[in-house]
């Protein structure tokens, strides 16, 4: 019998039931695991680390000068989702992504949702992520969020919540692909025994999806490029990986220039036009003529080319307004407003600290809540009430009182666990899930995604910048 070492009371374990029997999606894997020699698995785990280091699958942690390149720990026990569970999730995600695009189109055009009184006007128009430059402009194909990474957490057999929508530039998809590659290299037999849906065609689908949204000014075969802030960016590996896998150029701002109303890249033969730019730089840095004048990462004049219909920018500038954490709390209304149906996936209940009643509640219940910055990401600047010290909570309360509009709070969810390999066997650790969604004239959800796992016992913070790891994520064919 395989047992989890140590328990996390109350948390739902996705692999092993309370009576130590395996949950159904894991039954085949569980049998395989029980027959494995532990030392061999530990050796495989080292081997995986070597593969990652050798390949250079690293990320940079800002503010760590000496350790500029780090590996994200990879745990070799897969996270397994049944076909039935996945279908339910996929429907909910699709509904949500459709609503996000409709919402963006609306707030940059007629603003019906504001007029209907469902979302407060100041929340949109005073939001730094709202770009006035996008008002009245419709991106090619009407698509704003070409790539979405919806963060999902689970608390029980049938209990899923959307934690964040990540509609700007969701990262991590290279880990989804490399994790699968590594698992297939190390344990080919597992892929004979389990019918795991493939994720490998993601780069192909991404390229197709991007090319299908070429701008009106594109004649001939659309030329796609990936725009990176450069080698020092924390996700540079992923940018290079995606460009490579798609077979397109990886460009930096300094390679690009606006010539004759087109965005062109400097090649060894001269300047050549780009039709679709998958940009991995933030809105602020995209065009120094329109946004931050001090940006050296962007392309002066690209916004004019964009508005003239001569380039597609993915994701569209100004999409950040839709994954803002304050907007997030309105998502149930937003989904219902645009799709006419109740949301299939639940939101985590959210207190907007900008509202005095909520602020009062949050301050009184800090030890139970997770408090996040409205514009924060990567697990920075947040307070996890239950695990914070009294002193940390007191300090955070002061920040909250001085800038309440900057924060939202949510209950501490008891995230589901999936076991990880530890020296003495396996032990449950909290996980989340980020499936990747491609939007063109259709919505494609890659069956799988990135499972992030907190490596410390009891920890709920899964972010890689805070010491989290990843797992291969299997969606079973059934």
């Amino acid at each position: 019998m395989v047992k989890n070492k140590g328990t996390t009371p109350l948390a739902f374990d996705e692999m092993i039931n309370a009576d130590s029997s395996p949950r159904q999606p894991y039954s085949t894997y569980h049998e395989w695991y029980a027959s494995q020699d532990r030392n061999r698995l530990i050796a495989k785990s080292k081997e995986a680390e070597n593969i990652f280091r050798k390949t250079g699958i690293t990320f940079a942690v800002y503010g760590h000068a000496d350790s500029s390149e780090k590996l994200i720990p990879f745990d070799l026990i897969p996270r397994i989702i049944s076909g039935r569970e996945w279908r339910k999730l996929a429907q909910g995600i699709e509904q949500r992504v459709i609503a996000l695009n409709a919402f963006l189109d609306d707030i940059y055009h007629k603003q019906e949702i504001i007029r209907a009184g469902r979302v407060p006007r100041e929340l949109i128009e005073k939001n730094v992520a709202f770009l006035p430059q996008m008002i009245g402009f419709r991106p090619p194909g009407g698509v704003y969020t070409h790539i979405v990474g919806t963060d999902i957490v689970r608390t029980g057999e049938d209990q899923f919540y959307v934690l964040e929508d990540n509609a700007r530039t969701p990262s991590g998809v290279s880990y989804m692909l490399e994790n699968r590659e590594t698992m297939m290299q190390m344990f080919p037999e597992l892929f004979h025994q389990n019918r795991v849906r493939p994720v490998e065609n993601y780069p192909y689908l991404l390229r197709q999806s991007l090319a299908s949204l070429a701008p009106p000014g594109c004649s001939g075969k659309p030329r796609v490029a990936v725009l990176t802030p450069g080698i020092y960016n924390s996700a540079f590996y992923e940018h290079a990986f995606l460009a490579d896998q798609m077979g397109v150029e990886l460009v930096e701002g300094s390679d690009l220039r606006v010539i004759d109303g087109k965005v062109k890249m400097r090649t060894t033969r001269g300047y050549e036009a780009i039709d679709v730019l998958y940009r991995r730089v933030d809105d602020d840095f995209l065009d120094p003529l329109t946004f931050r004048p001090d940006s050296a990462l962007g392309i002066p004049g690209i916004m004019d080319v964009y508005r003239a219909g001569n380039i597609t920018i993915a994701n569209a500038p100004g999409t950040g307004i839709s994954d803002d954490k304050a907007i997030y709390s309105y998502m149930p209304e937003i989904v219902e407003f645009y799709t006419g149906r109740k949301p299939l996936l639940e939101n985590v209940p959210t207190w907007r600290c900008s509202e005095p009643q909520s602020l009062k509640y949050v301050l009184e219940h800090l030890e139970e809540l997770v408090v996040k910055e409205v514009h924060g990401s990567g697990g920075y600047g947040m307070l996890v009430g239950p695990t914070a010290t009294r002193k940390e909570r007191a300090a955070f309360a002061e920040k909250l009182k001085s800038r309440p509009t900057n924060y939202i709070a949510q209950p501490t969810l008891s995230l589901s666990t999936v076991p990880i390999l530890v020296n003495k066997g396996i032990a449950p650790r909290h996980v989340d899930l980020r499936p990747y969604v491609l939007v063109s004239d259709k919505v494609q959800i890659i069956p799988g995604g990135l499972t992030r796992v907190a490596l410390k016992a009891g920890s709920l913070v899964v972010n890689s910048s805070q010491g989290g790891g990843t797992k291969d994520t299997w969606v079973l064919e059934d």
């Binding site: 050798k54 080698i231 033969r269």
Partner: protein
């Protein structure tokens, strides 16, 4: 291809070539100090000069010692031509252009960096030197092997090769230039054992002491050494060989792009003169002057390539 990518490839291979050459220079220096009884500081002076970092050394150190010189050439980040600096810079460029490299080439480069970072984390003990030098040469060899075995023969390959040979030509010319006086006919007439050590060290700096014996006779003669390193088209580190390769790789680019630049003229002209001039002419004209001019033309060629193919 992006101009920036061509630039990255060119420099990636220049740095890897330089790392290997720095290791070779250290090797030759070590060898020389083994065969001599008196203090070997003078030998290191020559090695630092060959590496083009003699003045830089003085900025960092008060006096010249063999221990400091080796460390400076091997792992000092203040020396941009130290083995470790070059490996880091080479790998940095490789990371930037990794979409242009095969997985094998990238991994060989990355593994070279990872191994040398550990190996050169601390000041090397003299006893460890043979192993260190060996590792550097082996790692550089693995990169070269992966590159030759897996890369498509296209523009990516051409820019990489051009970087390798521009760097190699520069290195060989510098090594010769620093030692030109030991090759001068007047001095050579002496033929003492001291000269033999010096001549052998030149050949060792370019890993050619055995090949020399195959091509010429076993006796070391200054004119033959100079001929071997300048004009011999079969010697892979000679100036003539480097320019054969530079010219042919530029030729591929010319045919593929249908475009000729100033760089093509310069490379062809240099190659023609390397083919036509005899070593006697060169020695008569003045070896030092000849090499100085060669190094400056070689630099100019680098600049012309960068301009012609829009590296910046």
């Amino acid at each position: 291809m992006l101009g920036r990518t061509a630039n990255g490839l060119y420099w990636m291979f220049r740095y890897i070539e330089r790392a290997e050459n720095s290791a070779r220079l250290i090797d030759a220096g070590l060898r020389m100090s083994l065969t001599r009884s008196e203090a070997a500081e003078d030998d290191w002076d020559g090695v630092l000069q060959s590496a083009g970092v003699r003045e830089l050394y003085d900025e960092v150190h008060d006096k010249l010692t063999s221990i400091d010189a080796i460390d400076f050439l091997l792992r000092d980040r203040a020396n941009p031509s130290s083995v470790m600096s070059c490996i880091e810079a080479g790998r940095h460029n490789a990371r930037m252009v990794r979409t242009a490299l095969t997985r094998e080439t990238w991994e060989a480069t990355n593994e070279c960096y990872l191994e040398m970072k550990v190996m050169l984390a601390k000041k090397a003990r003299p006893a460890d030197m043979p192993e260190i030098i060996d590792s550097i040469k082996r790692r550089a060899g693995l990169i070269r092997g992966a590159f030759h075995g897996t890369m498509l023969r296209n523009e990516i390959f051409n820019f990489s090769r051009i970087g390798t040979f521009i760097e190699r030509a520069d290195n060989t010319a510098r090594i010769l230039d620093v030692k030109y006086y030991v090759l001068l006919p007047a001095v050579a007439a002496v033929g003492s054992s001291m000269d033999n050590v010096q001549w052998e060290s030149i050949l060792r700096s370019v890993s050619a002491h055995r090949a020399y014996g195959w091509v010429y006779d076993a006796e070391l003669r200054p004119a033959n050494i100079a001929d071997f390193l300048i004009s011999n088209g079969r010697m892979p580190r000679s100036l003539a060989y480097c320019y054969e390769k530079i010219a042919s790789n530029l030729g591929y680019l010319e045919r593929e792009y249908g475009e000729r630049h100033a760089a093509h003229e310069t490379a062809d002209r240099t190659l023609a003169s390397l083919r036509s001039q005899s070593i006697k002419d060169i020695m008569d004209q003045g070896l030092h002057e000849y090499l100085e001019e060669f190094i400056s033309h070689n630099n100019r060629l680098g600049q012309e390539i960068s301009d012609g193919y829009r590296f910046y």
